[in-house]
């Protein structure tokens, strides 16, 4: 049949993962995260937060209204920007932010996650998740705005600091479980040998890295409003700004997914069975819930912390987080030597 290749292309699982789970799922999670961030911050600050858009839903529709506004808003392109980069960078950053989702399995059944059963999924997911900051720097640079350039410079400083932390602390899971395959990492943690319990140091370092990489509080430095307006995004408006802002939440979610798999045991203690419900839906919900907890915790931090100064954040990374990550890695080696997982 001539239709077969086309059908195969349409039903090609990675495509589904990117389109359905990656895009829509990330969007949904981003919306929940934004809503929670506003609502939690409002509660801590003794306000109500989003309310009037839908009092019964706690103002959740407010976020959708916000999205609609961003999309319909006039797109103002200053005359002095480098147009091609200005358009491409935020969109590319958003897409690249979602890409790691392909390599993150939400179930151990290979029939649902053919790509995920590859042996280097953790490495590739990590590698992809470190790409978007480069595009953010490009976005800031192309804006031809002094605040944007300062913001980009800060972003580049922060990347150099957190990247090593993120990679070393997350790879410490591989050191302990002797595999780069995320499915095997999760299976090794069944049922309650979660790495957060066995190796909390690496987990702490990983969370610090996520905080820095997605410029969450207390490391919200590149976009720090009171010096550099909106950092790299200063000149952006409308949908392009929404891409920039959404990208940060998606990146946070992707990191949270990786951490949920690596440290929080993924779908453990549940063991995926055959069939779409037991093999696909239930484990994905468990993983997404675990990831959401991390995302919501990060959102909550906005309410209680201020932001560090740039040099203090970098100092925290080099003096505290990197040693922590290395100690965590060594701890993992020790775990592997003792043979906890095997």
């Amino acid at each position: 049949m001539i239709l077969d290749p086309i059908l195969y292309l349409i039903a090609y699982p990675p495509l589904w993962q990117v389109l359905i789970l990656g895009f829509l799922g990330s969007l949904a999670v981003a919306m929940v995260a934004i809503w929670f961030e506003r609502k939690a911050a409002a509660r801590v600050q003794r306000r109500i937060g989003p309310y009037w858009a839908s009092p019964a839903l706690g103002g959740f529709l407010n976020i959708i209204a916000d999205m609609v506004r961003y999309v319909l808003q006039q797109l103002i392109i200053p005359g002095t920007v480098d147009r091609l980069t200005f358009y491409v960078a935020p969109i590319a950053a958003f897409i690249v932010s979602i890409l790691p989702v392909i390599f993150i399995p939400l179930s151990s059944r290979p029939e649902f996650w053919p790509v995920a059963s590859m042996d280097y999924s953790l490495l590739i997911a990590l590698a992809l998740s470190t790409l978007p900051p480069l595009l953010i720097i490009a976005a800031g640079w192309s804006s031809n705005n002094k605040f944007a350039v300062i913001g980009s410079m800060r972003e580049s400083y922060v990347i150099t600091a957190y990247e090593l932390v993120a990679v070393v602390s997350i790879l410490s899971a591989s050191a302990a479980t002797l595999t780069f395959n995320l499915v095997h990492i999760v299976d090794a943690q069944q049922p309650f040998k979660w790495l957060i319990i066995l190796n909390p140091i690496a987990f702490l370092a990983a969370v610090l890295a996520v905080l820095m990489s997605t410029s969450a509080f207390p490391f919200e430095i590149p976009e720090s409003e009171h010096e550099v307006v909106a950092g790299p995004y200063t000149e952006y408006s409308g949908a392009l700004y929404a891409f920039n802002m959404g990208g940060a939440y998606v990146r946070r979610f992707v990191y949270a997914l990786i951490i949920a798999l690596v440290f929080l045991g993924g779908w453990a203690p549940y063991v995926p069975g055959p069939g779409p419900i037991t093999g696909y839906v239930i484990p994905s919900i468990i993983v997404v819930l675990k990831a959401l907890i991390i995302v919501l915790f990060i959102s909550f931090l906005r309410a209680v912390y201020g932001r560090y100064r740039l040099d203090q954040a970098l100092g925290a990374a080099w003096r505290l987080a990197i040693p922590l990550a290395i100690v965590g890695f060594g701890w993992s080696l020790l775990l592997a030597y003792i043979g906890v997982f095997h």
Partner: protein, 179 residues
């Protein structure tokens, strides 16, 4: 006892233990209010504040008491109150129309200081305890003599419930619905 000056020292504690402890304090306090926010937000216009008597709101003019002394217009710090000259017929002497002057007010300028109310020798001006009124255009904010004498309708009363705020020892401001 007379006031005095006291030199204080900054409580600069350091160390890992203190750092962890104060971080935990901070987070715990955040969680406490996340669970129980103790908020006092006014859901305007579903609710509106009923102010205490003595609140300096819109100013209403009682023409019968006015003796045309113009003290109110002269003391107005923002030149919001102006005098207009009106020819009136005195009921006692209907044949002799007399000229009187009355105040009118420009709410584009009024700052609600209440000097006019306080200076009026016959209490011909008084405050109503609110000032959330909507005007459709700026010209309407210059009230004519007739408009100046009617108490304006407060729009929030048509769709909202009155609340009062009380100072509470535990929760700060507490909103109470008035039945």
């Amino acid at each position: 006892m007379p006031p005095k000056i006291s030199l204080k020292k900054l409580d600069r504690r350091g160390g890992l233990f203190e750092g962890v402890k104060s971080n935990i304090h901070t987070l715990a306090l955040g969680v406490k209010y996340l669970v129980d926010p103790q908020r006092s937000t006014l859901l305007y216009p579903k609710e509106y504040i009923e102010h205490r008597p003595g609140y300096r709101g819109f100013i209403i003019f009682i023409k019968d008491k006015c003796i045309s002394c113009a003290a109110c217009a002269r003391i107005c710090p923002s030149a919001a109150m102006k005098m207009v000259r009106v020819t009136e017929i005195d009921p006692k002497h209907p044949d002799k129309p007399r000229q009187k002057q009355y105040p009118v007010i420009n709410y584009q300028r009024c700052i609600f200081c209440g000097f006019c109310v306080d200076v009026c020798p016959t209490e011909a001006l008084y405050h109503v305890p609110f000032h959330d009124i909507v005007y459709e255009n700026l010209a309407d904010m210059f009230l004519s003599l007739e408009m100046f004498q009617v108490e304006p309708q407060r729009p929030a009363t048509s769709e909202g419930l009155p609340v009062v705020y009380e100072v509470d020892e535990i929760k700060g401001l507490v909103k109470r619905r008035k039945s």
